[in-house]
Amino acid sequence: MTRNSELLVGLAMLGVGMGYLYMTMQLPRRGTVDATFFPYVLAWAMIGLGALQCIVTLQRGDFGARLGEKMQNVQKLTVLATLGLVALYILALRPLGFPIATILFLFAQFIVLTPTGQKPNLPLYALLSVISAAVIFMIFRYGFNLLLPAGPLTNLLP
């Protein structure tokens, strides 16, 4: 990590501590040791550690030193696409039901994660998505009595 990113981490730690302190100050007080006692201790600890991280980083001499590799754009895109797909998947779980949402999610996610230079095998992905979704749904619904949302399929299921 560069010195700048280490500094950014320190500032983020400081920010989290301050945000937590602000939220703690909104809580009602009932004496010295009450429900806010530990939150105050923790908030000040986070602020102190954030400040320490910033100070230690600023004292470091190696301005341009980089310990890790820089992320390629394709990597950033894959991470964002994965997060987006998971969020869509969770949103779709109730309205579409587990089987349909899972088939769509798996199919899209298989494509997103296919390594660079390798051609996505769409028929295989489609088959795997349907089989995995069906097997997981059946095992949990009928084997382990976990009522996963079925969406539009509810009336068709035994």
């Binding site: 429900a35 939150p39 600890a45 550690l49 320490l52 990597q75 587990f98 994660l113 390594p115 949990f140």
Partner: protein, 506 residues
């Protein structure tokens, strides 16, 4: 005790539980062996299957996964020179060169047999230490529990890998997240923003699955499409005849194995550090004690024995504080704690009194899982080697779906699935910022224990703080916590000594 032990074995050897243990060890080995898949993931995605099983069956399955995953890492450590999990880092130092010299079968044989012996040694330690420690812990009150929680928190925050500031911050942040929900003692709602779903706080399992499994999936997603100059090495088939090593070699390694086992058990008991550290420390000790230290790093069985005995000895070691005090040592034991709690089992000294048969079922499950590990790794090695080649872009999305099912199954709420995603993003942020996640989890689990017992202790002593220092056990643990912080600060300020890695490279 003997009766309870027999009862435990009878339960574990019933066809259903025996099958679950076999399955658990097999799946665990795969998760340990495939780099990028972890023991926490294995347990996380199997948890929903245990919801409808009884406590004995559910816990036996989880324990089998734990044993399998700890040992499975040796397969990729030797064949690919990539440790499947951090617990087998030191195995690559000599396992890799042995493979290159054409002694892969011997390295695997040694690794498997000494993994088994390490596990058995640690189970023996667990069975002898845990019941006596539970007896002592029965007399513990809020003062002692507060002090033990503080001591464990300081250890994990200061001993975790990487920067000490970030380690302590992670522990504090985990503690802060645990304050969400209804406060202990005076029942004030804290940081709930009026949402009833978080009145009881976040579930340990959603936090763990998010921080470890989902974050890991995102991290691997980041690597999945990375452009590489050279293709990744593929596994090479190795055929083992017999155990792969001679009786004389086995006998010659016994002192090394006993020493490494003791190191593994000792480190496993300490909260915060486990197999990820003990394998490296025992490797260094083995090298220092060896008559032929110059052979280390060039492919000697001594190195494989030290690493593999120590990492598996951490299994029983880590179970000691978990079962007797309810304190998990690392992420894997934390998720085991979550699994126990789902089945209505609260680890702690009372467990040994109220649920004696279950405790011995756990012991029996550990022993049977150790034997199954030995058998499956020898018999099924070819299958596990093939599984190393499963494409990650197929495996990871399915793991993600299973994690979502697990979160949903906790209380049939989509909210919990959102929670794992949120903690997954947080965990990924931790990875990018170089902040260790293990102290966060331990802070999250031990935070409420520290807060509740601190406030109860104060109530008992009518608001007098000195009770925490004058109580001999509480005072000792608080003094140890203070000493550990002072020692760490001193170590950070004094001139740097060569690191562990340079010690290994010597």
């Amino acid at each position: 005790m003997f009766d309870l032990f027999l009862q435990g074995f009878a339960a574990v050897l019933s066809p259903q539980i025996f099958l679950l243990i076999t399955l658990g060890v097999g799946v665990g080995i795969v998760f340990g062996a495939v780099p990028g898949l972890t023991a926490v993931m294995a347990i996380a995605l199997t948890l929903p299957m245990t919801y409808s099983l009884g406590p004995a069956a559910g816990i036996s399955l989880l324990i089998a996964l734990f044993v399998g995953a700890t040992s499975g890492a040796l397969i990729s450590a030797i064949l690919l020179k990539i440790p499947g999990t951090p617990s087998s880092i030191a195995t690559t130092f000599d396992g890799g060169p042995m493979m290159e010299k054409g002694e892969g079968a011997k390295a695997l044989g040694v690794g498997i047999v000494f993994s088994f012996l390490g596990t058995i040694m640690s189970i023996a330690a667990l069975m002898f230490i845990a019941p006596s420690l539970a007896q002592v812990a029965l007399s513990f009150g809020p003062h002692e529990y507060f002090a033990i929680a503080v001591f464990s928190l300081t250890l994990i925050a200061t001993l975790s890998s990487g920067s000490m500031i970030k380690g302590i911050f992670a522990g504090v942040a985990g503690f802060a997240i645990s304050t969400v929900g209804i406060a202990p003692v005076d029942a004030i709602a804290r940081f709930t923003f009026g949402r009833v779903e978080i009145n009881a706080g976040f579930s340990i399992l959603t936090v763990l699955v998010g921080m470890f499994a989902i974050a890991e999936v995102i991290r691997v997603a980041e690597e999945a499409r990375k452009r590489r100059d050279a293709p990744e090495p593929g596994p090479i088939m190795v055929k083992i005849k017999g155990f792969g090593f001679s009786m004389a070699e086995f006998i010659g390694q016994i002192p090394n194995a006993i020493r490494s086992g003791l190191v593994g058990i000792g480190i496993g008991i300490l909260p915060g550090i486990g197999a990820g550290t003990s394998n490296i420390i025992s490797y260094i000790i083995a090298k220092k004690r060896s008559k032929t230290p110059e052979k280390f790093g060039k492919g000697t069985i001594e190195g494989v024995v030290a690493s593999e005995t120590a990492n598996n000895a951490g299994i029983g070691g880590a179970m000691i504080p978990l079962l007797t005090l309810g304190i998990p040592g690392d992420a894997v034991t934390a998720i085991l704690l979550g699994g126990l709690m789902i089945h209505g089992i609260q680890p702690g000294p009372m467990l040994f009194i109220t649920q004696g048969p279950l405790v011995y079922t756990i012991f029996a499950a550990l022993i049977v899982a150790a034997f199954m590990m030995l058998i499956l790794e020898f018999v099924g090695l070819r299958i596990f080697i093939r599984l190393l080649a499963i494409p990650k872009h197929i495996l990871l999305p399915i793991i993600l779906v299973l994690c979502a099912v697990g979160a949903f199954g906790l209380s049939s709420r989509i909210f919990d699935v959102w929670t794992i995603l949120a903690f997954g993003v947080l965990g990924y942020g931790f990875v990018k910022a170089g902040i260790p996640a293990a102290p966060f989890i331990i802070g999250f689990i031990l935070g409420p224990m520290a807060e509740t017992n601190f406030r109860r202790g104060l109530q008992l002593s009518a608001g007098d703080f000195t009770g925490f220092i004058t109580n001999p056990i509480a005072g000792t643990f608080l003094a140890l916590a203070a000493l550990s912080i002072i020692w760490q600060i001193y170590a950070a300020l004094r001139p740097k000594k060569p690191s562990i890695l340079s010690d290994i490279a010597e």
